[in-house]
């Protein structure tokens, strides 16, 4: 793969030598905490109902959420949003949200799984739990996105996504209600694609059209785990 030194979004995107016939990615995982809900609805807004990737979300929620978050999001975006169900296959064009008080994991083969394992980073659902299992399931066909939040959940998951060949994008901390979470991911997973939520949404649409691939310019810094 060609590595393009990227300073701006346009550099992070590259039309491949022979234009890609189809989208090389299977899924997008998104993690957020405080301030993440708003960013998430902005990010999902431009994605059309026939979006060819599955979108999986781990957003920190109060355990009394009772599917409110999924319904709220479903009403605001074109894609169909539901709570993830155990053993359900992740379909393209759908958004699956981790239920409050459960971890969401992905099995190899792309089936969703829930667990009540102990909290990770004081959170259930934990973003790291989703990202790490998704990275193992989808490897280089995965895109990870980390949004606003006040703790460091998701940073290790982003690093594994990169180590296994996937792509990783952070919300620009200056646009985040709470900068800690994207900032941690940027430094721990050495992220160089850092954008406001609107631009992340646009980028996800372009990628899906198959015209673009994204490149993380910096190495993830953990090459021993690499392919």
């Amino acid at each position: 793969m060609r590595i393009v030194p990227a300073k701006r979004l346009t550099d992070a995107l590259s039309p491949p030598a022979n234009e890609l016939q189809e989208c090389p990615y299977a899924a997008v995982v998104v993690g957020g905490s405080a301030g993440g809900m708003e960013a998430l609805s902005i990010l999902l807004a431009p994605l059309p109902a026939d979006y060819p990737l599955s979108v999986l979300v781990a957003q920190h929620l109060h355990k009394s959420d009772d599917e409110y978050f999924a319904r709220h999001l479903d009403a605001r975006v074109s894609l169909h949003v539901t709570e993830a169900r155990d053993k359900e296959a992740a379909e393209p064009g759908r958004v699956y949200v981790a239920p409050a008080d459960y971890h969401l994991l992905v099995e190899r083969g792309g089936t969703l799984a829930l667990s009540i394992d102990p909290k990770v980073n004081w959170a259930r659902p934990s973003i790291d739990v989703l990202f790490e299992s998704a990275a193992r399931a989808w490897a280089d066909a995965l895109i990870g996105v980390i949004l606003s939040g006040a703790n460091e959940d998701g940073a290790q998951g982003m690093r594994l996504i990169r180590d296994l060949g996937g792509r990783a994008i952070a919300q620009d901390p200056s646009t985040a209600e709470y900068a800690v979470m994207p900032q941690a991911a940027i430094s721990i997973a050495r992220l160089d694609i850092v954008l406001p939520p609107e631009a992340i949404g646009d980028l996800l649409v372009k990628i899906a059209l198959g015209k673009m691939k994204i490149h993380n310019r910096l190495e993830s810094g953990n090459m021993e785990n690499n392919r």
Binding site: D86, E107, R108, S115, P118, S133, R136
Partner: protein, 275 residues
């Protein structure tokens, strides 16, 4: 082949080794959770590569039993999902009262918080003295803890709140006494509970039940093993008996779906059809 693919083979081999050496079958468990727990165990033991664990588990029973603890980390709380216990009070208890005695199987009771929650509901509803509760788990260590019924005092506040939300009619403090930093469940709550080792992967039905209570166990199984467990529950339930699953588990895509009607869908309470 990537490292990621190789690690997948390593976990396959580890589970196969455990099965052939010790008879515990984790091959039908939901794999992503097993993967996580194997990795946690590795880092606790400072072992770098999953393969290195295989000979150690094969030759060292102590290593195996430590690993099994990781595979069955008990994660539960008193009155988890209070509305479920409220639904049991409101929709199940009155029917159970029509029987001269009631047999209840709590499958996968882990460290026992939920079996004591159920016992409290039965006691407050005047059903406990006619009830026999079988609380089973494959993890003997967890069963020992469940039998002792001693929980950290710092969780009592949360348990008390859930007890109230679950429709508790008394005061939660009546059901335990404090000892140092712990809360010890009252002996009276234990007198109708039989704790026993039972493995849903390999063991069979052991009696006729009026209620089977099995929450957040099936999510750790693959579809095939889920169906095996659900078949056991169905064979064990009397006609008109109740099944209560975890709030994110359901019968919809299972092989026994047609044999039940829903009593409370949100609380995942089903009733085995009479006809």
């Amino acid at each position: 082949m990537t490292t990621n693919d190789i690690e997948n083979i390593e976990v396959d081999l580890l589970l196969e080794a455990i099965y052939r050496r010790y008879g515990y079958d984790f091959r039908s468990y939901a794999r992503a959770s097993i993967d996580r727990r194997v990795r946690q165990f590795l880092s606790s033991k400072r072992i770098q590569v999953i393969s290195e664990l295989i000979p150690r588990v094969l030759r060292d029973e102590e290593m195996f039993s430590e690993l099994v603890q990781y595979f069955s980390i008990p994660v539960t709380e008193m009155f988890r999902d209070p509305f479920v216990y409220r639904a049991i009070r409101e929709k199940v208890v009155s029917l159970l009262k029509t029987y001269p005695f009631v047999r209840i199987w709590h499958a996968g009771c882990a460290s026992g918080e939920e079996v004591y929650s159920l016992a409290i509901v039965l006691a407050e509803e005047g059903l406990y003295d006619r009830a026999t509760v079988f609380a089973t788990d494959f993890n003997d260590h967890a069963l020992e803890n469940a039998k002792e019924g001693i929980y950290p005092a710092d969780r009592i506040k949360e348990f008390t709140r859930s007890y109230q939300e679950a429709g508790g009619t008394g005061s939660f403090s009546e059901y335990y006494h404090a000892r140092y930093d712990s809360a010890v469940m009252n002996t009276a709550l234990k007198k109708r509970i039989t704790f026993a080792s039972h493995n849903l992967v390999a063991d069979h039905v052991f009696g006729e039940m009026h209620l089977v209570f099995c929450r957040n166990v099936l999510i750790y199984f693959n579809r095939e093993l889920q169906n095996r467990a659900l078949r056991l529950f169905t064979d064990s339930l009397i006609r008109g008996g109740f099944l209560c699953l975890g709030t994110k588990e359901d019968l919809q895509f299972s092989e026994v779906a047609d044999e039940y009607e829903a009593v409370d869908l949100k609380a995942r309470i089903y009733r085995k059809k009479v006809g």
